[in-house]
């Protein structure tokens, strides 16, 4: 096993692209080291990306925010501007693990670990976040929902690294929220979860919305029909009822000891409803 700490993204990409055998990207390590410890992966090469310039920074740009791939979730929670613009994304990121894990774990790692139950991912999908990918043939930017393809699998090719997650500049009267169900009060993995992001006009009518569900299918689901249930309406009982019904119907969950299919469907609807209500209030809707 080799451990390297490149100083540039080009070097990191080159090392990954040129490596034979299994390679792994290390940012916070809160998934990678656990998988190594358990014997699930034995990388031949570990590429620590934390010394690459810019990857540990949150930048506020004219277009919004760029969150470097090595920024720990704890740092997201300490960024007042990000919290104000994207409270749903930050609250989701802050739900991952303990204080100890928060100091290390990243939203990019959460995305690339490709767990259907990843807490930050439904919030990022609802937010319309994008991933900036550096690779052997240059850079490309894709929607975050295009990154995970199946549990533990991503669409990233050999040599590709996500260097940042982009969040748009906020339109006025916008809000987002994320909720998950766990049987404990904290330190657990979502049984099912929902992220909602919406924008309203001056009359409180929803003009844009995105709804995403976690732990409800092999990958995080973007439920377009759920967004349609909200757009063009105020967030009245009928809209919420329709939202819950559509979300429950969109789920393709597994049946396991943590939750039955029936339970997950029902709770997905309830959480979507509650997250929409919070997002609406954050957008200034009454």
């Amino acid at each position: 096993m080799r451990y390297i700490r490149p100083l540039s993204i080009e070097d990191a990409v080159g090392q990954l692209a040129g490596s034979a055998g299994i390679s792994a990207i290390l940012a916070g390590g809160s998934d990678l080291l656990v998988r190594m410890k358990g014997g699930f992966v034995e990388p031949d090469l570990i590429v620590d990306i934390k010394s690459i310039a810019g990857l540990s920074d949150i930048r506020e740009t004219a277009d919004g925010f760029s969150i470097g791939a090595a920024v720990p979730c704890a740092v997201l929670g300490e960024n007042a501007a990000l919290k104000k613009s994207w409270p749903g994304v930050v609250e989701a990121a802050k739900l991952i693990g303990s204080k100890q894990v928060q100091g290390r774990c990243t939203i990019t790692g959460n995305l690339c670990n490709a767990s259907p139950a990843a807490d930050s991912v439904p919030a990022l999908v609802a937010a319309g976040a994008k991933a900036v990918i550096a690779g052997p043939s240059g850079k490309r930017t894709i929607a975050v929902e295009a990154v995970p393809t199946a549990p533990g699998k991503t669409s990233l090719a050999k040599g590709e690294i996500i260097e940042a997650i982009l969040l748009d500049k906020r339109s006025p009267r916008s809000g987002d929220a994320y909720l998950r169900f766990i049987p404990r009060t904290e330190m657990d993995i979502a049984v099912v979860s929902a992220g909602v992001n919406l924008t309203i006009d001056e009359h409180g009518v929803v003009t844009a919305a995105r709804v995403a569900l976690g732990a409800a299918a092999p990958t995080v689901l973007l439920v377009e029909e759920a967004a349609e249930a909200l757009i063009g309406r105020k967030l009245d009982e009928a809209a919420l009822e329709r939202l819950a019904k559509v979300c429950a119907g969109a789920c393709r969950p597994i049946d396991d000891k943590r939750g039955t299919i029936e339970f997950r469907r029902k709770v997905a609807g309830v959480l979507a409803r509650r997250a929409a209500t919070t997002a609406y209030a954050r957008a200034g809707g009454k």
Binding site: M1, R5, L33, S98, K99, Q100, G103, R104
Partner: protein, 158 residues
Amino acid sequence: MAGIAVSTTINGDNIEYLCQPDETLLDVLRDRLGLTGAKEGCGTGDCGACSVILDDRLVCSCLVLGAEAEGRRIETVEGMAHGDQLHTLQQKFLEHAALQCGICTPGFLIAAKDLLAKNPDPTEEEIRFGLAGNLCRCTGYDKIVRAVQDAAIVMKGA
């Protein structure tokens, strides 16, 4: 076998060591440097017994590679007392009997130190949430929370 040469700061001292690429910081602290305060409970970041402070962030040393410590600053439980003078948190843990078997104690002490450094006047709820990454199978947590509350009062007055 050669290893990766690492130069780091531990409890204020400049330390150099060689480690293997798959060795965790916890392994390095315990097996190479003889700093056995940090304990291996689970080895997967769930129990917090291996907690250390890395550049002002509380982390599980079992989820950090030894090689990652290059150029960084580490605080372990061994750095809390000054000679025979216990840190206030250590003193309060004794007074409140906030430990039984003791395996989780170094992790709790470091986590509580980090908590009070960032929030000198925490509510009980903040203490409980702040220490949720540390598991204890003996005390039922109440005595630990009381000890931290008491330490916070003393440390604020200091």
